[in-house]
Symmetry: D2
Amino acid sequence: MPAASVSSGEPIRVAVIGYGYWGPNLVRNFSGLDGCAVTAVCDLDAEVLEAVARRYPSVRTTDDATALLRGDDIDAVAIATPVSTHHRLARQVIESGRHVLIEKPMTSTAEEARDLIAMAEAAGVVLMVDHTFLYTGAVRKIRELLDSGEVGTPFYFDSERISLGLLQQDINVIWDLAPHDLSILQYLFDESPESLQAVGYRHVGSGREEMATLNLHYPGGLHAQVRVSWLSPVKVRRTLLGGSRRMIVYDDVEPSEKIRVYDKGVALDLDGEEVTPLKPIYRAGDVHIPTLDRTEALQVEAAHFLECIRDGVRPLTGGPEGLAVVEWLEAADRSLAAGGTFVSLES
Amino acid sequence: MPAASVSSGEPIRVAVIGYGYWGPNLVRNFSGLDGCAVTAVCDLDAEVLEAVARRYPSVRTTDDATALLRGDDIDAVAIATPVSTHHRLARQVIESGRHVLIEKPMTSTAEEARDLIAMAEAAGVVLMVDHTFLYTGAVRKIRELLDSGEVGTPFYFDSERISLGLLQQDINVIWDLAPHDLSILQYLFDESPESLQAVGYRHVGSGREEMATLNLHYPGGLHAQVRVSWLSPVKVRRTLLGGSRRMIVYDDVEPSEKIRVYDKGVALDLDGEEVTPLKPIYRAGDVHIPTLDRTEALQVEAAHFLECIRDGVRPLTGGPEGLAVVEWLEAADRSLAAGGTFVSLES
Amino acid sequence: MPAASVSSGEPIRVAVIGYGYWGPNLVRNFSGLDGCAVTAVCDLDAEVLEAVARRYPSVRTTDDATALLRGDDIDAVAIATPVSTHHRLARQVIESGRHVLIEKPMTSTAEEARDLIAMAEAAGVVLMVDHTFLYTGAVRKIRELLDSGEVGTPFYFDSERISLGLLQQDINVIWDLAPHDLSILQYLFDESPESLQAVGYRHVGSGREEMATLNLHYPGGLHAQVRVSWLSPVKVRRTLLGGSRRMIVYDDVEPSEKIRVYDKGVALDLDGEEVTPLKPIYRAGDVHIPTLDRTEALQVEAAHFLECIRDGVRPLTGGPEGLAVVEWLEAADRSLAAGGTFVSLES
Amino acid sequence: MPAASVSSGEPIRVAVIGYGYWGPNLVRNFSGLDGCAVTAVCDLDAEVLEAVARRYPSVRTTDDATALLRGDDIDAVAIATPVSTHHRLARQVIESGRHVLIEKPMTSTAEEARDLIAMAEAAGVVLMVDHTFLYTGAVRKIRELLDSGEVGTPFYFDSERISLGLLQQDINVIWDLAPHDLSILQYLFDESPESLQAVGYRHVGSGREEMATLNLHYPGGLHAQVRVSWLSPVKVRRTLLGGSRRMIVYDDVEPSEKIRVYDKGVALDLDGEEVTPLKPIYRAGDVHIPTLDRTEALQVEAAHFLECIRDGVRPLTGGPEGLAVVEWLEAADRSLAAGGTFVSLES
């Protein structure tokens, strides 16, 4: 089946499968873009579909994905359903010759992800994964600071993503929250981690880990820690990135000042000063809070998806990037099962 | 040699060995207490001794601990020197029949700690370890909230103690900073951890871990995480304690509102409500910030030390408590050496 | 023309005039309510109307308010246009027999406000003013704390509402921002201020005050200060309310913990303690952060407007309340013109 | 009597009168400086003197200022007593030929201040006023930012200095807290305010204003607001300084990041952009947090006092600066008495 060809004059017609937490954001953002129209929405819940119909009277609604894809009013499909259904639904979409955008994490297993990559390549359609954070001004600014050499050699990446709820029933907290941090890691650093370790805990009785810590080791000495929890009384979304020249605090809960760059460093050979236990060898410098592009990330991402479809651009967050994150998530589950030992990430 | 007998009418005469970072606080606090006099200070640095002499003209100063102990003007000695010297100096103090207060961590090895415990028992002198945080209003309030049942079953203890510097040369960051959290753990919970895991990292080239994470597992399901770092651009001293009924945030950087009690919980069977992924089963309640006793912790501790000497009270932070912390620190080093595997804490 | 009679079975049909900053919120909230339909939108900007048509295809759009009101598909009209047009438009709406909701401040002059009150009474239609803050969980909680006697005698109300921009061209910063605080004052306290003083400043050259401070004096000793600014680098929305028994901090920038109740007080006769300059006579107690109803204020308000129409309930924020705020704003202008002297508010 | 002549080789001998809240800081800081010795302390409280004697055995203590000055062991005197006694004591000190440092505010009346200035000039002694904040790294950095032109034309200075207690008995809250802000104003700007207005309130029954707001107008358009209170549940020490090019937030409660420089501005002619009510004409730029000299302010000030004595340097905070602050305080009292009208500051 040939890939949906989209001539540049016509709007790209997008369907959304899954109208739960994230689906409305997808519909709103794709609706708002020039050169794009949301034409159909699929969800299993009749009440949800009614609400969609009321709000977007011109949008076709259905509770049957197969029926959805039978329509000839669709060029691309965004999937925002539970992870366990991603592979099956994305296969259907690709088989029908449409481009596909899949919510994170891409699939339940790396094997499924590899299958989708191969299918999309064969079908000549765009396969993109919804790693939303890479489209924020904050994460792009961090990448910029790394690229410019300002940060120096990166020492560590330390991320905390904790709050109360929402408890997912089909996946543990790592699969729910860590994809954000893992996709950021995957984007920021050119090298890949070589091993990973995870510890996780269950308290409420959900049968799935509700709190967890991941440690990722990189060949060059960089290491990353990612902490995720559904059981914290306070909401924290904070990443520290320490480098040899500067250190960055990325606080996503801050409404406007999300990135702080500390001109601070620690060294043993700093200016030849004498090192003694009571004479800390650190450099306390200024702090800089850069302005950030505040465009909604999903809007930037949706526009990028359309650009990939129209101009054949390779997605920033395509199949391989989605696969990497799923591989790390699988490794985390293996480490959990093995009682928290480090597991290798060599493919 | 008989233990120093102190009649209740006379002031207890205290000597301090080590006048670096902590020593001045010891001198200031013991000086300020009724029924107590600081009579001698020992430090290797001549300039430091001169400063002491200027500030406290009546205090005998010396750079020789043996000479210090030869004087008959001492009932008790506080040791605030590098960890590696604690055992040797405390032995001398106990052998001379004086009571001893040792800065945390108690010793470099559990064996040394056991040796001191045995010696102090034989000599009939008070052996106390300077686990300062247990004497703060904040930590005592947390213990109170646990004891009263308000918190419910404790789920987790999560502590972060990070800042820039000060780099210690003789110990790694775990031995430097984690004793605070480990002593708090030891105090708050009646059960003991059964296993422990540590990962640590070196970046600056000090040859010692500068950042580390400890995970402690308790038999009943409680778990604790302690993160320590000398390489953070921001100073954080924050502990989360999650229980089945309430959750506590203890932020030691806050000048006055250090403890926040969240009347929040998460449960699967809450009020029989239906559990769905989009319907988080959490209870969002009020937050309560209790007033705390703001007496300087070291003052409370110093008074307790005097009380132990005078009234034969068993120290809240005696030899066994100091030993437990050292055992956990040793286990952390073993886990680090083994690449981050869990090691057993069963004695 | 008779007042729109609305039978309880049919939805109330709402039109919105003005689709700038606030209009979209009105449309969204009225659309979302049961028993209500947004049927028409009026704005002068053709592009804006196109966007409305795309988003709400069933909504009639027009750039002519007279034409809007000619339709028989309207029971009530919400006006969200510049203040100078409120009186003229509201007159038209009332004359056409429709109920009306007017954005704050109600009108440009107290005379205009009195005119609308008289007209609405004669026409038997609901006249309501959009004092949104009175429908927030935070402000209702403060009222509750005052009513229950928990706060004791209120001493002062101190509000700061400052940020960078947005510069209004037709009104000064007092008319733009202070209506929020003045309506809150009007709601919280049973007595009315007897005099008012204002100082204001212009820097950018807009020809209107860009920063100002209001002081309101109440007969019983209560006083209120309201500070507003378009020229602050930081956004602050903070109200302190001090009472003889408790003090409240209302921080509207806080995402969730907007209200903090301090169990603190100051007294000269506190427990008969001796008063000396160095012995402050204050009581430092716990802080309590109550949970608040987090329903969007405009949704509560829209529902209340419908309730007033359907059940003949007197609006919480009706004509008299709107008039009071406009009277105080006029007094502020008089004080500004008189160089900051106190002006009487006696009617 | 000739002024105390101090040869550069000998230490300057300082006496301190008043050992209440501030006196101990004076003794500690003068003691810590090279080329200086604290030789005598005077206080009316026998217990206080005993404590001084225990802590500083070499310091002469007395409860009689006249006796204190009779000693030949004094070159300079620091006065830290209630304001009402400043003039009488400072006269005695100057008459005895000693240099004098007076706590803020300098005196109870401008007339008293002028008298001291004349006396000190005649006697050839250094007269300095303890405007401590001008010796902080933060305030000096603000001055630097103003001098360099970075801030542009200063628009406003807005300061809030509020907390719970301490209630002073002999002066109102303006005389207690506002001298800090007024001295900062006096230091930062070259021009002087031309008029001033004050409103104040009493609630607790102390007979003195416990909360107040001052507005100061400058001939060039600059204006300053200073708010002080003993009745706030929260401690705030925050100054906003808005200029045409940059805006500064000075938060003195922040432990380390006290100064934030916002590269934000508002203008009507910015880049020729069209001005509309919904298109705010502001520039949102980066924020910069400069490192500050963190030396204790009183130490810098004490050193400066010694430098003035030894090298004949004119004090940064001498008699004229102290007088200016007292004149403004007197004007504030006049405005309070007149019901909050603006009063002229022209001498």
